[in-house]
């Protein structure tokens, strides 16, 4: 029973513009981790945000609207065909683009290339783990699986990265 003095917390959706400003670069980074191309990453992130904007009345009330956007961006970014189309689109509108890709140091390029070589779900779990610093519970909600499964993905993913990048401490026996 609620007395007159009790307060009731009603979760109102954040303004989309605020959400967009705050999350945009992180979603682009996440999409880059999966796609390996800034063009493809920006394209996927922008499309994901446009969809979120269109459905903000619903998406904005989710516990984690950022997870929804990342899922859409991930689905757009991981598709090889779409990636090829996006690259081709980039060629088509190359003349309109003057800004060069931002430089990324060699070690980071190698790391994310190794991440992209992982199976799809390991790739997503590892990207969210390092890039977003999400807990296994948050990643499990994102992937729609059990936490124990996420721990498995992370373990196998990190072991594979260790093999590829040369960290014997994490290699599987």
């Amino acid at each position: 029973m609620t007395s007159a003095g009790d307060s009731v917390v009603v979760r109102l959706p954040e303004r989309f513009e605020q959400f967009y400003e705050r999350e945009y670069h992180r979603v682009v980074g996440f999409a880059y981790a999966l796609a390996g191309s800034w063009e493809a990453a920006e394209d996927a992130a922008q499309e994901a945000f446009l969809r979120a904007h269109r459905e903000w009345a619903r998406v904005g009330r989710y516990d984690q609207p950022g997870a929804w956007v990342r899922r859409v961006a991930a689905n757009l970014a991981v598709s090889a065909f779409r990636r090829r189309l996006t690259e081709a689109r980039a060629l088509v509108r190359l003349a309109a683009r003057h800004q060069p890709d931002p430089p990324l140091e060699g070690a980071a390029v190698d790391f994310w290339r190794a991440v992209r070589a992982l199976p799809s779900r390991q790739r997503q779990a590892v990207a969210l783990f390092y890039l977003e610093d999400w807990t296994t519970a948050e990643i499990a909600r994102f992937l729609g699986c059990a936490e124990v499964t996420v721990r498995g993905h992370l373990h196998r993913g990190r072991a594979a990265l260790a093999r590829r990048l040369g960290d014997p401490g994490l290699e599987e026996p």
Binding site: Y20, L50, S79, L85, E87, A88, V92, P102, A107, R121
Partner: protein, 389 residues
Amino acid sequence: MSVDTRGRRAAQALLQAGERLGPPPDLDRLRRRRRRRVAGRVGLAVAAVAAVAALAGQALPRPERTAPDPAPPIAAPATTLARPGGRPLDPHIRQVIDTGKTARSEVAAGPSGVWVLNQHGDPPDELVRVDPGSGGVVARIGVGHNAARPVVGPDGLVWLTRAGPGSDRPELLMVNPATNQVGLTVPLPGADLGEGTRGLLVAWDTVWVADGRGRLLRVALPFSQAEPVAGATDVGWLANAGGWVWATSGGSLLRIDPVDGRVAARIPDPRVQIAAPASALATGQDSLWLAGAGGSGARLVRLDWGTGQSKRFIRLPALAEMYRPKLAVGQRVVAARVGQQLRLIDPATDKIRATVALGNTTGGVAADGETIWATESPFGRLLRIDPGF
């Protein structure tokens, strides 16, 4: 250096590099770019594919057209066409296009136009491409025996199945709209298409096929082989919404991860069970739409595409209870074909706003933007229908 340390540093470097891309683009500019992209989707896709192909040294033929012509405005006067015998056409029918007599037909619409599948049985079936602007037949493409379920993908490519002359060579076909020819054939070993394909969906650059026995197959890039989706049984109809692939399965809905084809959830719903067996599933208006003829007549269920839970339940009055409704969702209308009637539902109110009388009970229905397309099989007609609201 440990993997964890490398990972943290790589993440930091990536986020810093992302910041150097500049501030997030203005939303209005994004929206304008998206509108342009959608408007010229065919041209862009073909140009993009051509660019990729050119890079690979295998140039594709030039497209015959870049984008469909705009449909006639809603306010255009109704045609004064009449059926044989002088019976006037329903005023919602704006154009009647002769696509050739056939035993049965299906129709699909999308960025590359309207595609009618004339199912002759013998002789081989034929895919008829119609220009949605002029209503002219652009091409007739032989697609072999026992073809079914044409679907136009977001890039304009047309996908369908065929079972072969003895229903013993199940295959998935892709028709390239740039050449009007079958551009790809993928064997579907083990698929039973003898009783017809239940569902076909193009989503997330994967083609999903539900065969006649309810088994679900996914054909992912490079479209060379089909693999069964484990745990998906009694699958009927397929749709793509909210980042998931959805499939009807008895009285339940399956939510399938498009990335790895894993069944993520089976969602039972009493309203879906009442409508079972489902006869159509479609996406649009931020919802999933499921039609079925279970119980005492045809019904339409509107579902939340995030959770799969039902939101509305709409009865579809029919002249007979046996008709299994077919569905198409347009920009402002949901069209449910039940026997000789096409019910036009306003998704803003979930009410039936109009009923269009069709000439016969068999044929398909499809939507493209604000236009609904329906076929009348034995007569070989394609109808352009304007909802008028």
